[in-house]
Symmetry: C2
Subunit: 577 residues, 2 copies
């Protein structure tokens, strides 16, 4: 373990040259422009003052550049983590209070600490407990929740709630407050942004624009909407007509802050912090891995934990809130040609300049426009097509994804994702609890054995061969016991049972005891028990036990050997048995 392994910057930094510098600078300019409205919007989603979104994009980016392994990942506030943040700290503090902002810092600090710890202990694989169906169900449900949570800004009303029913009831209850001008701004911004996302590119291409230009125009859409609606509010003084705007934003670099670490606060936020860490990590690693593969690069998931952890700890001390690697911004960064994490550092510089110089410009920016950018961004996360795909592939995975969606919408993000994990694990255990066991026979003229119900094969009434298509462990150990006993009790003339272990990758202690019990039961019935095609690691372990010495039969290297020895013997001396 070299110290340098924790500083990937030492790796790419050594070869950093002028070409990389210029590519990184161009990417940084593009990402900075895109990040300004996005950062404000996500802070709004998390229930925090807008500048917090900018702050959360500065120190974390620099820290990730030092510790992270992905060349193109852009770290900062993202939609799902912002929603989780709002849900978690909404339980311990009132939105708008100082306690709320401090709780956000604490949450960032805790999840940073958890991520670093997992990274140092190399426990990144724990994130695998989130199966793909659970992740996609969770992302889809979160997209719906986030879009719904932004309705209040589009309508200009007060509403609240952390589950879909709560939000809908609250919005409906406050419909009387609707501000028509806000609705006009919000709805038109949403409509235009949707069109920009879906229709602008083909439209420009039809007009003869280059693909590059069409692409840039599409990405500049949110910036244009921000500029246009801000100007409209300023020119027509719509803020005095009840349109809520971002308002005063302090002109300053990120402040030095301290997360609150009182035992009650830490206890209340610990479980949400675990959830945010794991979900943020999974989102980030998926993006990083996809982008790395395109350049035949590699990311190290355990070092990624440390990079993201450092970014979150940085956010906690610089007035931010939990961050992770975002999908949209990372793809933009990659497409814009970023070559190294230095591009991220330049983006941080650009945002620092914006924090000091440009914040007065967002005074008249309507919250409705920010809400519109969020709605358009997150609805692209909602993916019901995956349901059909999963249904066609596996009913069990479909159950997991559907349960995750419904529980997330109905009971909130935390319960939803936790239940999804538990349901996936239980479904997996259930599937392996009744393994596929095929009764096999010899394919005539070959040494192959196949399922007697699918192929025409040679069998013997005295020799029963069962191929077990699953590792044997406590959940299915008794199943095998029952099955062998039932099969032998029904076929009265059976003299030998062969268990073919070609697909058995493990035999745990419970399964060993079941095999011993099967051996005893068969011995009581005067039937032999034999094993064939036992894998090396399984055999090594069985040799540690007493099964083999008490086995009322033999272990054969190949099933064909077993068949020749036993079926042959059975034919030659049936009376002696």
């Amino acid at each position: 373990m070299r110290i340098a392994q924790y500083f990937p910057i030492l790796d790419w930094g050594r070869t950093y040259d002028r070409a990389a510098l210029s590519n990184d600078l161009i990417a940084a300019v593009i990402v900075t422009i895109m990040l300004i409205p996005q950062s404000l919007a996500y802070a709004l989603l998390a229930g925090l003052p807008p500048e917090v979104g900018i702050y959360a994009s500065i120190a974390p980016i620099i820290l990730y550049a030092i510790f992270g392994t992905s060349r193109a990942l852009a770290v900062g506030p993202v939609a799902v983590v912002s929603l989780l943040t709002a849900s978690a700290i909404g339980q311990v503090a009132e939105q708008g209070t100082a306690g709320y902002a401090v709780a956000a810092l604490t949450l960032a600090f805790l999840s940073g600490g958890i991520l670093v710890l997992l990274g140092v202990l190399r426990l990144g694989f724990l994130a695998n407990f989130l199966s793909h169906p659970v992740i996609s169900g969770f992302i889809t449900a979160s997209g719906i929740l986030i879009a719904t949570s932004q309705l209040k800004h589009v309508l200009g009303i007060d509403a609240h709630g952390h589950t879909l029913p709560e939000m809908i009831v609250s919005v409906v209850g406050h419909l009387g407050q609707v501000n028509p001008i806000t609705v006009a701004i919000g709805v038109s911004a949403t409509a235009i942004l949707f069109w920009v996302r879906l229709g602008l590119k083909p439209f420009l291409r039809k007009l003869g624009a280059s693909p590059k230009l069409a692409d840039v125009a599409t990405k500049a859409g949110p910036v244009a909407a921000v500029v246009a609606t801000t100007l409209a509010v300023w020119l027509f003084s719509l803020d005095s007509a009840g349109v809520r705007t971002v308002g005063e934003v302090p002109q300053s670099l990120p402040p030095l802050t301290m997360p609150g670490l009182s035992p009650e606060l830490v206890q209340a936020l610990f479980v949400p912090a675990i959830l945010i860490s794991v979900i943020g990590f999974v989102e980030s690693v998926s993006v990083a891995q996809t982008l790395a593969a395109k350049k035949r690069q590699r990311i190290d998931p355990d070092q990624e934990l440390i990079g993201l952890g450092a970014a979150n700890i940085g956010a906690a001390f610089t007035g931010g809130y939990p961050v992770t690697g975002g999908f949209a911004r990372s793809v933009v960064n990659f497409d814009a040609g970023a070559e190294t994490p230095a591009a991220g550092a330049y983006t941080a510089l650009g945002l620092a300049i914006a924090a000091v110089a440009l914040t007065p410009l967002v005074y008249y920016l309507p919250n409705a426009t920010l809400a519109a950018t969020i709605i358009v961004a997150v609805l692209s996360l909602v993916d019901f097509k995956i349901l059909k795909k999963i249904w066609g592939y596996s009913k069990s995975d479909f159950t997991a994804v559907t349960a995750t969606i419904l529980l997330t919408l109905g009971l909130g993000v935390e319960v939803g994702v936790a239940s999804g994990v538990v349901i996936s694990v239980l479904l997996h255990l259930f599937k392996t609890s009744r393994p596929h066991v095929a009764e096999v026979g010899l394919v005539s003229g070959s040494q192959h054995f196949r399922n007697i119900h699918r192929h025409k094969v040679e069998t013997s009434s005295q020799v029963l061969t069962l191929r077990v298509d699953e590792s044997l462990y406590f959940i299915n150990a008794r199943f095998l016991e029952d099955m062998v006993q039932a099969r032998v009790a029904e076929g009265g003339s059976i003299k030998h049972v062969i268990l073919m272990f070609s697909a058995v990758n493990e035999v745990d202690f419970s399964a060993l005891e079941s095999l011993e019990a099967i051996n005893e039961h068969l011995k009581d019935m005067n039937v032999g028990l034999h094993l064939s095609e036992v894998k090396g690691p399984v055999m090594d372990r069985l040799k540690q036990s007493h099964l083999l010495e008490h086995l009322n039969g033999d272990v054969f290297l190949s099933q064909f050997d077993a068949w020749q020895a036993l079926a042959g013997r059975a034919l030659v001396e049936p009376a002696a048995q």
Copy 2:
């Protein structure tokens, strides 16, 4: 589904004859004599009046005879379930109150209902969540807890507690109360019973007694101890010297009782009832299966659930408490020659007569004697040798058994067994999270492929073959993704990757997406991805997905075909790749 399947009595009842009747009657007499002191003792352990132990042995036995499938199982109070009962109802009512007895009825009713429900839904396999290491750890720890809990009766003091530290502290704190005569009775009864259990049989055999006689004498030991100490108390009026005795026991048949079903009580006892059901079921099925195999009979685990459920519901309405099939009494029943469940019904009759006629005789029976019979019985459950056996076989199973023992002793039976289940599941998932993946090559002159690190095999620098020794599912899907990417990134000249699927029994949706990601990554690197030896059920499912049509390579029936096609092609046209 015939109705008759739920009434196994219709099966054996049709062929019941005089020979079976006489065998069953003899067995019933022996079991009845053994059950009287045992039933009183276990009621004491559960904190209930002594007659409850007798009542719990009457209706349940008859109901099991009607619904159960084992010919030899003897149902009634058992040590572990009595301990669980004491622990569960101790949390909702004070021992000795009417509420305590009602809670015991409710617990029996709930666990009966749960068992019947599981049986009707055919969910008996859920009991498999208790792995053998967890069960043996739990039984050992319970034995220690039970023996310790009886110390207070042997010493004649008041003490309490549900964990080992609590009990020890409480016993030490009450040492001032010790009653010397009680200690004399308790210690000598314990010593004599231990000697009867371990030394009497060889001693009698040495004196020339027949094995049969030695056996009967050994089993009559507890009855003799009961008679002797009862006589001593009566003759010398030791009860007035502070020796606590069973005292007044109502002379009556089991009363008709109603379990309490208030929502608070049901809610408080529901989780303990699940635990008691599952543990009782596992204990009972293990015994029943062992005994059935000896006579080449079969039990049906799902029908067993119904049989045990009926027995518990019967206990709830006849003044009993939770029951299950006991190990000791079932073995005695079997050895005494019981042929059908009718033997159980005759035992019930014997106990009913005892309840009406013999209860005055136990007035002077000292609690210390009953405690001694319990201590001697349960210490035979304590088995530390299994720890060594498990350590030698599997470190992971050893972790599970050790954790279960320590948590059961330190935090009580309920936390202990629940943690054991969770730990086993997590350890299993952990083991499968980093599957064994072997890089394989061709054994020269054969069609076999073996691990390149264990055997001398042919390999190609352009073709990488990985044999995956585990089913692929969400927990290990990303591991494979990382591994393939790492392996290809390091070996620069690789043109083809073959995944050999001979031991892959399942590919869930997460793993499918990982395979798709691997395919995309490799495509980006201009490397082909191929599959070989895919099992029928896995192939059927993959055909439902889009993986195969987008696969940047082929699916080969055998690994040898794949090798010939790809290694051959690589050798012939390396420049074209």
